[in-house]
Symmetry: C2
Subunit: 229 residues, 2 copies
């Protein structure tokens, strides 16, 4: 599997994501027409992610967002009740997609090393498709209020746990070396996150997401596979 294959298998559209959000947030979104709501939500979220990733969510004002979207201040408030709620919605936007796609992509794969490879690839390709969201989610998590913050931390630990379980499985089957599952999963996660957090650096060096995936799988295999040790 490579990035091009992934993209054609897993079609993630902003419209679908915003439709889900629209249906879940009828109380906050005062727009009746689905088509209008979705079109504008996409515009709002794109602009908000871009502005926030540049200067931070708090430093972005709603006047900035108004200018960037071409919607008035009053119109913006048809889509969320407060700036804080916008933050929550932005954070929530991608979370269910991620979980669903990773779990889906691992279905039917039993071999631990194949699972590990697929998990690494899936994570990287997802973050490539939705880089601005991942960057935003990482950087702004600490601004979330209690319950949303808890959910964000859980999502962080959930994907790490996917790796941890693959490692456990591999060790139990005698396929992987006997390593610390938690620390290894955390280290893999750190390297996966580096991809989207420092996209500027890898882009500057012309490292493709497939290059990076290959490198990571190589790096991880040296540690996990006894054949290599």
């Amino acid at each position: 599997m490579n990035f091009e294959t992934f993209k054609s298998l897993v079609r993630i559209s902003k419209e679908d994501i915003c439709r889900e959000l629209f249906l879940e947030n009828k109380n906050s979104i005062k727009i009746k027409k689905e088509g209008v709501a979705i079109k504008n939500l996409v515009t709002i979220f794109d602009a908000a992610l871009q502005l926030s990733n540049k200067k931070g969510f708090f430093a972005m004002s709603l006047r900035d967002l108004s200018a960037a979207t071409g919607l008035s201040m009053g119109a913006l408030y048809s889509y969320f009740n407060s700036k804080e709620e916008l933050l929550d919605m932005l954070q929530r936007q991608g979370r269910t997609v991620i979980t669903r796609v990773i779990v889906d992509q691992l279905k039917g794969i039993d071999d631990p090393w194949e699972r590990m490879k697929r998990a690494i690839q899936t994570h990287l390709y997802l973050t490539e498709v939705m880089q601005s969201w991942f960057y935003f989610a990482y950087m702004e998590t600490k601004n979330l209020k209690k319950n949303e913050h808890k959910l964000a931390i859980e999502a962080e630990l959930f994907t790490e746990n996917i790796f941890s379980e693959i490692i456990e499985q591999g060790i139990n089957k005698g396929v992987f070396a006997d390593v610390s599952q938690e620390l290894t999963a955390a280290a893999i996660k750190a390297m996966l996150q580096d991809w989207y957090l420092k996209r500027w650096k890898y882009a500057g060096r012309q490292v493709s997401v497939d290059d990076y995936a290959r490198f990571l799988m190589d790096f991880v295999s040296a540690f996990l596979l006894p054949v290599n040790r």
Copy 2:
């Protein structure tokens, strides 16, 4: 070398760091008495780091900082000319220390693997001693204006380059496997940074910095040392 040894060898005091800043910023710091200036700079920086790391530099107001330090608004402005300058000073605060300590700790070590181990340990122990600064520097870099932003990026790449050069040296001496220097150095850096960026997670799991150092050296050795491969 372990963390306790490091701490007694490398004494980093906030007072020394603030003294350097005081001497370099006579234009911005209107206080004449070195003792008073340094004492209050330490207080200001500690409070600013804590507040910023909790809610973001922009979301922290100077009234927040005033309350946290016990200094009035007017007194705060004796120490910096603007909030933006405070950001610059905070970012600059630790940069020279880091460079100096890493370079010092590598002196007299020729063996590539020994250098690698020392570099990993030094980086981790430094970030353990100055965790709040490192977290702040990582999270707030994007808010810096042009020249300061450039310096921060350079510092980021400088430490990564230390690892890259060690790898190059190891490959040239036939000690290390033939791997991508840049990607390997970046991966090591990512794992090192994870330590201070997700300090909450490792603390919750009761992983000591020495545990983490040992784990990282093991992980990296599996990839770099042909004996392992």
